[in-house]
Every structure is written in C-alpha cells, then in structure tokens.
C-alpha cells in the first residue's frame, strides 16, 4: 500500500487501519500535508493549513488509541472546513481581505462535534468570497478542478470539493445554501449532500441566509458521508432552528438492492431539457443501474421548479445582504470582489414586499415537491445538463443582462435550487465521466428528515458502479502546470 493509495482511501478504510494500529494518525496527516505542499500551489483548495496543530493532535490521538481509548471511526481522521465555518484559534477568512479573521474565537458546533469524535482539523478550504458563488477574482488563488485544470470546479464550497477529490484530506465540511456543496462535489467527482434544514446545527457558520443555509460533508463515498453526517447531526441549543428529532443510524439502512423503492425522475431537471451527449449517455446508464437494482422509475413533472432560482435570489440573498450592509458593505465596499459586491448590493435593494412575496412563492415550490414525495420514495435528477464548463465560461459576466438571465434559468442552479428552497435533503453522487475525463453526477432527493432513503438509494447505486473508485492522476493533470511554474521561476 503506497501513500497515494492511503490518501484516496475512504474514511472507513482509513479508520480500520487506524483502529488496528496499522497506520498512525500522524502518518496520515503527514501524507496529506506532503500532498498539499506538492499540489495545492496549483489547485488552490486551501487558504489555511494548520499542519503543526494537526500533527500535535494526531500524536495525542495516536497515544489515546494506543492506550485502548478508540473514540469512533473518525478518531485520527483529518478533515477540512470551508473557510466560513469557525474553528476557534484557526482563523476564518471568508476568502475576504476585509479582515484576517471573522471567527471572533467561535468554534462551530459541527467542528466541536467532529473533534469530540476524534477527528483532526487539517485546515480551512478556499471558497468563493463570503460563500457567494459570484466571485470574479479570488484573493487566495483561483481554485482548479483536479481532473482537468481547464474545467470549472464549481462554486462556493469549491476548495472542499477539490481537496477531497484530489486526495488532500479525508473529508471536508462545506456549506450549501443553493447548491454550494453539491456543485463542487459534482464538478470534482465527490459525494456531497445538502441535509434537511435543521438536521445540522448552523451555529458558528458565518452564513446569514437564515431560512436556507445548511452545513454538511463532502466525502469520497456515500458511506463516509453518512458517517460524518451521523457525527454532526442533531439538536443544538445554540441553533434554535435545529431539530430535536432523533438522528437515525444511517449505515444500518444500507442495502445492496432497491427492491420496492419507487423513484420519480424529475422531467424539468433531467430528460425534459436539452442534454449534452455525454450527460445523456450517463443518465441513461445510471437509470439502467437503478432499475437493475430493483427500483421502479417513473417520470414526474415539477413545473414550479423553474421558479426556484429567482425565488432564492429574492429571499436568501437579501437575508445575507441585510447583515452585510451594516457590517461591511457600507464601510469596505471596494475591498469586496466586484462580483460579490454587486450581487450583495442588488440584494440589499430588494423591497421587503418582493421578499415576502418570494417567500410565498418558495412555499408553493416546496408544496409541489412535498406532494411528489407522496407518490415516490425519492426523486432523481441530474446535477447539470452539461458537464463542468470551461473555467472562463463559468465566471459571471456581470455587465451582461442576457448572461444574468441565462444563469437564472439555464444554469446548474435549476438542478439544485428547487430542493434548497424547499429545504429537503439531496445528495450528489458521481455517475460517470465525459470523453474528456471530467466527472458528472446524478442527484437523489428525499422528503424532509428522510436522509435514510436518500443515502440508501445513493449507496446502492454507488456500490453497483465503480465511479467512486476513480481518482484524478495528479501527475498527469496537475504535474505539467507544476513544471511550467518551475520553469517560470527558474527563468525569473
């Protein structure tokens, strides 16, 4: 077993080796630190790497395990956190240059829970500034897709998706308001979920879209994802909107078949749209796999889904802007990226009447989705109608009205926002590759608090395929860029 194999292992596999003392958490952390040093100068998936802190904790974990005190399958497992999730003494930059640390000493409940389970914070992952997906320029380097540097790595929890997919950490916590976890999982070939709103505490996340923000993991397998969610879910007195419903044991519900499971294929988020040939091929193959596992699949129409994008922009963005105007937009306007500040400024000017009307619209979208769950155990959609775009095409053209309108109705957002405004759980699962070896995914959604079914369908599908076993060959995809950088430095 070489270091690359260890880096790409699932948490479950790494945990088994740690528990048997066949590898030390110190070794695992060091492998990731070495890989970050080698590759992240190009990938830009990290803003802060707290190597010394992590190694110190790894030594403590090693000693604890040696004494027979093995806390959980996360003991000694390294994790990253999107740099808008507070982490105590490790700064939270929000990918902004307004101030060096927005964390004010807070530690997010999700981070505390992972650390209580024995997991070790490796660092903070790069993101679109303030978690808004509209950055034009990145203050901490432009994140790159490890499969193909010319393709987008998607928006917001971008560094979390890249670092997990590139084998630079075991898992990373992201934040999903509209699709900010599922998008980077899709583009980089990882597993990412948006949990039911209220399933996971939001305390300590600097987010502010208080009706829609969620925190959850990006992982390399579905089982790993369920494992991490299991550790961070549950009621938190510091988040009054967190649910006190019991957290089920997700893994005990995994099955290798889907007999008796009824799936609804959402027309407007799949076959009802013009699909890229590679996506069309992938979807047909994925549906065949689901059917072969015993699931029945019918097409279902959600005509109101198309309103989800503007409804989110008219509700969650003003919620965010209401905080930003007072705290930073009035005083530090020119220190924001132009894409972020013009999006927030527009959101700040949305009249309260429109906000309230849009919240009524969101209720209608949600009701339509909940009605579908009366007939289907889970809904299946694409994560996008096209593969990850060329990097330059993925950046918003902020002075072009047609581009703004296109992004409202034709972008990847139409596949993720409906479940976001409805606050139901959804997961992005790797489902194939384009001819250019860029990842693609399907999405599985379930009714509120039914992460069991969402995970069960996703896990059975994953285990019947081999997509999760493929990892980017960084020597081929990133190596040439390292060589170019070295040549440039030598010539300077």
């Amino acid at each position: 077993m070489n270091e690359t194999d260890l880096a790409y292992m699932s948490i479950a596999e790494q945990a088994a080796l740690i528990e048997k003392k066949e590898i030390s958490p110190v070794d695992l952390i060091q492998i990731y630190l070495d890989r970050i040093e080698k590759w992240d100068g190009v990938l830009h998936s990290w803003i802060t790497v707290c190597g010394e802190r992590a190694l110190k904790q790894a030594k403590a974990a090693e000693a604890e395990i040696a004494k027979g005190h093995y806390r959980s399958p996360l003991h000694g497992i390294p994790f990253g956190a999107k740099d808008q999730i507070t982490t105590g003494d490790v700064p939270t930059t929000m990918a902004s240059i307004i101030q060096p640390d927005f964390g004010e000493g807070m530690t997010a409940t999700v981070v505390s829970k992972l650390e209580d389970a024995g997991a070790i914070l490796l660092g903070k992952n790069n993101l679109h500034e303030f978690g808004k997906g509209s950055s034009v320029n990145f203050h901490f380097g432009t994140p790159k897709n490890p499969w193909n540097l010319e393709r987008e790595p998607s928006h917001s929890s971008t560094g979390s998706g890249i670092s997990v997919a590139a084998g630079l950490v075991s898992t990373s916590l992201g934040e999903d308001t509209g699709g900010s976890i599922r998008g980077p999982a899709w583009a980089n070939g990882a597993v990412g979920i948006r949990p039911t709103f209220g399933r996971v505490s939001r305390y300590g996340g600097i987010m502010y879209a208080w009706t829609q923000d969620t925190i959850a993991p990006i992982t390399r397998t579905v089982a790993d994802n369920a494992l991490v969610l299991q550790a961070i879910a549950g009621h938190d007195p510091q988040d009054p909107l967190s649910s006190d419903r019991p957290v089920p044991d997700y893994a005990t519900h995994f099955t290798t078949d889907l007999k008796g499971v009824k799936l609804g294929l959402v027309r407007e988020m799949s076959v009802g749209r013009e699909l890229h040939p590679d996506v069309d091929r992938m979807l047909k193959a994925a549906l065949d796999v689901l059917k072969s596992l015993g699931a029945t699949i019918e097409e279902v129409s959600l005509p109101k889904a198309k309103y989800a994008i503007p409804l989110q922009f008219l509700t969650s963005d003003p919620e965010v802007a209401s905080i930003f105007v007072r705290k930073w937009l009035r005083t530090h306007y020119d220190k924001f990226d132009v894409g972020t500040r013009t999006r927030l400024a527009a959101a700040a000017l949305v009249p309260a009447t429109l906000y309230s009307r849009a919240m009524r619209g969101r209720a209608l979208v949600r009701n339509e989705i909940l009605r579908a769950f009366k007939s289907y155990d889970a809904l299946v959609t694409l994560m996008n109608f096209v593969p990850p775009m060329k990097l330059e095409d993925s950046v918003e053209k902020i002075d072009n009205k047609e581009d703004i309108a296109t992004r409202m109705f034709k972008s990847r957002r139409i596949c993720t926002y409906p479940f976001s405004v409805a606050n139901v759980p959804a997961i992005s699962v790797p489902s194939g590759f384009t001819d250019e070896t860029v990842p693609m995914s399907i999405q599985i959604a379930a009714k509120p608090f039914d992460e069991i079914t969402m995970y069960r369908v996703a896990h059975a599908y994953e285990q019947a395929t081999e997509w999760h076993l493929r990892h980017p060959d960084l020597e081929k995809t990133v190596g040439p860029a390292l060589d170019r950088a070295a040549v440039k430095m030598a010539g300077e």
């Binding site: 013009t342 527009a346 619209g361 209608l364 902020i398 072009n400 703004i404």
Partner: protein, 64 residues
Amino acid sequence: MELSKDDVRNLAKAISLDIPESDLNTVALRLSSLIELMEQIEHDLGDEMDKTDPIPPVYPREEF
C-alpha cells in the same frame, strides 16, 4: 422594469449605501433582472401566492 443608474443610486441612498459610479450599471442590471423575473412569477403564480403563507424555515408540527 428597467431600473436606471439614478434609480439604483437613490434606492441605495435610502439604506446609506454608497455604490460607486463604476458599479451602478451592474447593480441596476442585476436588480432589474430580479424584478422582471418576479413579475413573471407573479403573473404565473400570483393568485396561488395570495392563498399561501410565506415559507417558514422549519415546520415543527408537519408530518412528512
């Protein structure tokens, strides 16, 4: 609804936000687009929206 740069400047003034001249056109485009899209939603769903309460973040007594 096509908002002008002056419209945006005045709206921003109401919340003490000083948007520089170089950004006014982009903010006007973004806000105009949102308002136009909401007009379309009102056209399609307005009557239903009148009969629906705004979405609460959680539904504590709802059975799914």
